[in-house]
Assembly symmetry: C2
Homo-oligomer: 406 residues x 2
């Protein structure tokens, strides 16, 4: 029988009833003879409650202490889930991140996993225990508790899968898998059976909320295939793995839409080396996450630089640019809100031409104006009016026939 | 400046506001130049909530997992208190029991502290940090999380005081100290300035709820003087320490009353060796906590054995006795509820006669009947009608003039 790593997110363990359901599911796999490492998050809402307490005590609580505080969330869940498994006569032992041998660097609230000492988990598995591990947390070499940041429990599951050469890593969540588009936006969206790491990565960067890009990159790096599936149904999910040649037959895998964007254009920028560096270093110092950047060829030694940010960062971005604009002798800065980014993603694009043409013409036929374009090897993104976002996503989804099963 | 160990109980850290108040108090001591190790409990109510969750999953949750679960309570408090101290510009670092080097045996939910590795705390103190330690918890040599059972945070504080030779160990609670009687029962009760370990131990065994006997025994064993005081006022509390000869001047230190008792008499027991052992072994097997035991001289080879238990254990005790009664050929078993135990405690009793006489006559004058008597070197206990308990406590308190300051 195989070794499975399963990860259950906060919604899946959000109540006593749900913890019982998760225990039933684990018990079923256990009784089939599988070895199981189960990674859990804090019960949904708990992390926010704890942060709320901390914020009442200090406007900027120490990151070290936030890690001590937040790590109690998963610790609570591992104990409760183990107890629920005992009630089903399944031997189970809980381990905190530190106990599980998860060693991280010292960057509190956003630590990186450095290595995992497998000894303790290995022993517990050999004694036929389900090993229930607290996700999202570890300890650094000095023994301080650390947390891994957003999507940290997925990281824990994938790292454990890599170290223990798990046959399968199942990421249980509240959706049934990865879809060709967000079903709330495109009702005809279809669940994808298999997708490559790179495609999911491009989707994560394009507003798809299934998984943090970080966890997917980590899985890619360590070649850990995983399945995204729902803890509320028994339906097979989406397998995420290294690309195989058959995957290239599908030119576009999915459409994603990221609303609430804003664009900023710096007009009349002298076309000299180091100008763009100056602009984006200043934005980086201000911790502004810039998404698309477009610069066209210059005219009479002057050019325009446009970039997009989430609209929540627009004000901060404009403040950060104030001084730099005169430093680089640019003419002026213009900002627009109310835009959305629409992307099509697919590794098949590399070997198929005409994807861009089809995308642009389908939007043009519907009278939707394309304001900016940016491409990667396996993705084409366009900026459109936010009000047209939903309609555009449906049109593009149809144009690439994503509702048809393969 | 001195090293202080302070312990704050669940009520003292029961809300964000109270944690802020505790931080203010600690900050004041810190600014005076003291080194501080602060031990905290879980916020009041948290432990019960966690146990409630566990009980919904399993009627008898695994003790190992209960320890993993409950230890999150103190871990939450250490982080929050450290954050509150930072808000007052006081450097503070939190440590879980395991991080603080508290090594226990492996008896989950009632572990004993085996030793404390002082290295980490010492370093943090040398860097002038307030070290905030999670009470009630530790880890065993295999790295499993353990908890110390009831009163465990007091134990942590006293053990740390012993290891670090603290100048003073302050146990902050919701009462101002140890009283000559429970002020809710005897309104003229007075706070005691100094009391010996043995006196407090006898009081703990007699229903005084200030501290668990276990923590007092531990303090006595390691000769750690401590102060019980309130976290809500700035009034000096009660110093608990080894007895000094001046203490003997006070014949009776305090009166305590334990209501809700029941007595069980086994009548017509053959006066042979091994009979009492048989009875009380059977009760111990059934985990019944027997308090007073009285056996008088025998008459015609038969004797009566009487013992008291908390009334909640009466039914269980009678069930446990059923078989043993015929085994030892006793005549019958009689049980009475509605009784209370009144005790007077004082190390001065050892060198002063007439305490028993004064106790019995004061009760007799008030028409209160004494049903059973039991004595130790520094305590006399009597069983009386529960309905007379409050009046009796007041009468005895007056008789020994406990309301007069020394």
């Amino acid at each position: 029988m195989a070794l499975l790593v399963q990860k259950y997110g906060g919604t899946s363990v959000g109540s006593v009833e749900r913890i019982k359901n998760v225990a039933e599911r684990i018990a079923e796999f256990y009784r089939q003879g599988h070895d199981l490492i189960v990674v859990v998050s804090a019960m949904s809402g708990v992390t926010d409650q704890l942060l709320q307490l901390a914020s009442q005590l200090h406007p900027e609580p120490s990151e070290r202490e936030i890690d001590v505080l937040l790590s109690t969330g998963e610790q609570t869940t591992i104990a409760l889930l183990s107890i629920a498994l005992h009630a089903l006569k399944i031997p189970a032992v809980s381990l905190t991140g530190a106990q599980a041998g998860i060693v991280t660097d010292g960057k509190h609230t956003r630590a990186k996993i450095l290595n995992i000492s497998p000894k303790r988990i290995k022993e517990l598995l050999q004694q036929r225990n389900v090993v229930v591990v607290a996700g999202f947390q570890g300890q650094n070499v000095e023994g301080h508790i650390t947390t891994l940041g957003r999507g940290g429990s997925d990281l824990t599951a994938i790292a454990l899968s890599a170290v223990f050469h798990a046959e399968c890593c199942q990421i249980y969540t509240d959706v049934e898998g990865v879809y060709t588009a967000d079903p709330r936006i495109v009702p005809t969206a279809r669940k994808i059976d298999e997708i490559s790491y790179d495609e999911l990565l491009e989707m994560a960067a394009s507003g798809s909320k299934v998984m943090q890009a970080r966890s997917v990159e980590f899985a890619k790096k360590f070649k850990v295939p995983f399945e995204v599936r729902s803890s509320f149904t028994n339906v097979a999910g989406t397998i995420v793995k290294e690309e195989v040649s058959a995957m290239e037959k599908v030119v576009v895998r999915a459409v994603s839409l990221e609303p609430s964007q804003a664009k900023v254009t710096i007009l009349g920028v002298p076309d000299k080396p180091g100008i763009a560096a100056k602009v984006f270093c200043r934005l980086a110092e201000a911790e502004i996450n810039v998404d698309m950047i477009v610069q066209n060829i210059s005219d009479h030694g002057l050019t325009d630089i446009t970039f997009t940010v989430h609209k929540n960062f627009l004000k901060k971005a404009l403040v950060a640019l104030e001084s730099v604009v005169s430093e680089i002798s640019a003419r002026e800065v213009r900002a627009t809100e109310g835009i959305a980014k629409l992307s099509v993603v697919g590794i098949g694009m590399r070997s198929h031409s005409g994807v861009a043409a089809k995308l642009f013409s389908s939007l043009a036929e519907a009278g939707i104006n394309v304001q900016m374009i940016s491409t990667s090897e396996i993705k084409i993104s366009v900026i459109i009016d936010e009000k047209e976002g939903k309609r555009a996503a449906q049109i593009v989804h149809d144009a690439f026939q994503l509702n048809n099963p393969l």
